[in-house]
Every structure is written in structure tokens, then in C-alpha cells.
Point group: C2
Chain length 147, copies 2
DNA sequence: GTACGTGCAAATTGTTTGCACTATC
DNA sequence: GATAGTGCAAACAATTTGCACGTAC
């Protein structure tokens, strides 16, 4: 699996065995920008790797989340969705299509971080600040863009 | 059910029949500040109203969300949680205890709203902006406070 | 009285787990 | 070769649904 060299390294660095199923799942998630669920990922990879089981996909996603190579995105939908992008960013969630799109804006992130640097939360250790913009795409086929 | 007069009115105004189960569920949620799940609510009200079924609690919460008397809060947990507070506010989520606490700060909300007034999202109609502060309580027994 | 809501139980959906086997280190 | 990971199927948990009965308007 020559094409998985970087992925292999990431897994090893995280202290995980670089197994074939893990590389395939992680690779698929890194190449997806639509924040798929475990079932989505399973569907997509089983063409190339038919023997992979859904249970393993669930287990693999759990360990990837544990070692912080991947994060979960929580939205209204009744299932968990995943994101291999670990840079600080927000999510745009479309109620109509259930689509989740990444949203970057360092200016806004600075604003929010500055805020939490001034106002402190007592009795709480902040790990992460999640920002979700909920609404509806006008044209469901097209991505949202920022002007 | 004299104590439910205001609730009765809210339901009627929303175009819903003011049934006993609906009033009991809505009342319970309004008196909870811990963002309970359907099962939590069912457990809490069945002392006073033993005949109520869990299925009905689910259905009632769904219609209350539909008419915007109640909102869903999405966090990591594997179940849906509800909030009868419809004022704009954020949520503090504790990874250790699974507790959700409301978080008000008009200054921060102004900041974020100003931001989205300037930078527009193309092809997207924003309905709501959700802010979630994820982390861990130091003392799990005590609420988080803002300084 | 009628249309909508409810209780109950069964069905569905998403996720987790136990166990025998396999592959990585 | 030891240990941790996988496939498979069964178990579980949260939520939804069909249907006969009940209740608000």
C-alpha cells in the first residue's frame, strides 16, 4: 500500500498499529469534505476493500478520535459524523440537505479567543470552542462561500 | 390543572391542542435547567403522571421543537437533549460529567452577529448561530460561573 | 362528533460487544 | 510469537411507528 505512507506514519506517531483497515478508513475520511458517518465511510470503501466490516469502521473511528487524528461533529442528525480536519474551524450546517461544510475565519476565531482570554470561566477548563452556523442553502447543489 | 394556565396559552398560541401530556412535558422541561433527554423527562414526570408513555414524550418533544417552543441541543452524547430556553445563548458542555449549562453573554453575541452582518455567506440563509464551549469542570458538583 | 393525540408494543436505526481468527510489530 | 486488531453476528440503546382507543375543541 504505497499510497498510504503518510497515513502509516501518522498512525505510528499516534502509537497505533498501521493496519490495512485503519489506513483505508483514515484515508477515506481525509479525502472526504462532507463529514461522513461511519456507514457512509463503510459504503465508500467497500468497493476497494469488500471484506471490511461496519463494526470495524466504528471501532477505528473511535480510536482515531481518541488519539485526536479525527474529530466528531455533532449536529441534529441522529448519527455521528466525522472530520479529519483538526485545524480550528467552524461548521456550516444545512437543515434542508443535512450537509456540513467547513468554515474558516481566523478573524472570527481571534475575536472569540480574545473574548475567552478576558472573561474567564470559573470551575471550567476549556478544551475547545465550537461554532456552528445553522441555516439553509439556497441552492442545495452548490457550496456556501464567504464574501 | 390550574398551574398550567400559561403553558396552556403557549400551546394554544402555537396552534397545538393543550393536552395533559403536553402540558406536563413542557412544564417539566421549563423547570429543568440541565437539558434533559426524552428518557430523563419521562422518568421525572411519571411520578406525578404514571400513565404517560415514553413514546408520547418523544412525539411531544418533536412537535414542541417544530413549533419552536423548545430546541434541541446537540452534544457528543448518544441521545438528544432539549432546552425550553429560546433566548439566544450558548452552551457549556462538560466532557467529564455530560452536563450542559447555559451560557449568556450579550457582548459575545453582539460580536458574532456583527461579524456575520459584515461577512456574508453566499448561498446560505442563516437561521441560528450555535456556540458551544467544550471542556471539563474542575469540581463536577459545582456550576460553572463567568468572571 | 371529529380530528388529532395517546398508550402500548413492535419495528427500525445507529452503535457496541463477545468471540474465534488474523495480522502487525 | 505475543499482543492488539478484525470480521461476523448477536446484543444494545435511542428513537420511531402502527394501530386501537381516548380526549380537546
Amino acid at each position: 500500500m504505497e499510497k498510504f505512507v503518510q497515513i502509516k506514519e501518522k498512525l505510528s506517531n499516534a502509537g497505533l498499529k498501521a493496519t490495512h483497515p485503519r489506513m483505508v478508513v483514515f484515508n477515506e475520511l481525509m479525502n472526504s469534505k462532507d463529514h461522513p458517518s461511519a456507514e457512509h465511510i463503510h459504503d465508500r470503501i467497500k468497493t476497494d476493500y469488500p471484506s471490511i466490516s461496519l463494526g470495524s469502521v466504528y471501532r477505528i473511528l473511535d480510536v482515531l478520535v481518541d488519539v485526536k487524528l479525527v474529530q466528531r461533529v455533532s449536529v441534529r442528525s441522529g448519527y455521528k459524523r466525522y472530520d479529519a480536519n483538526m485545524e480550528p474551524h467552524g461548521h456550516i450546517y444545512c437543515l434542508k440537505t443535512d450537509a456540513i461544510q467547513d468554515f474558516y475565519d481566523s478573524e472570527l476565531y481571534d475575536l472569540i479567543n480574545d473574548f475567552f482570554r478576558k472573561k474567564k470561566l470559573k470551575n471550567f477548563k476549556v478544551k475547545e470552542i465550537k461554532l456552528q452556523v445553522v441555516g439553509e442553502k439556497v441552492d442545495p447543489e452548490v457550496d456556501v462561500t464567504i464574501i
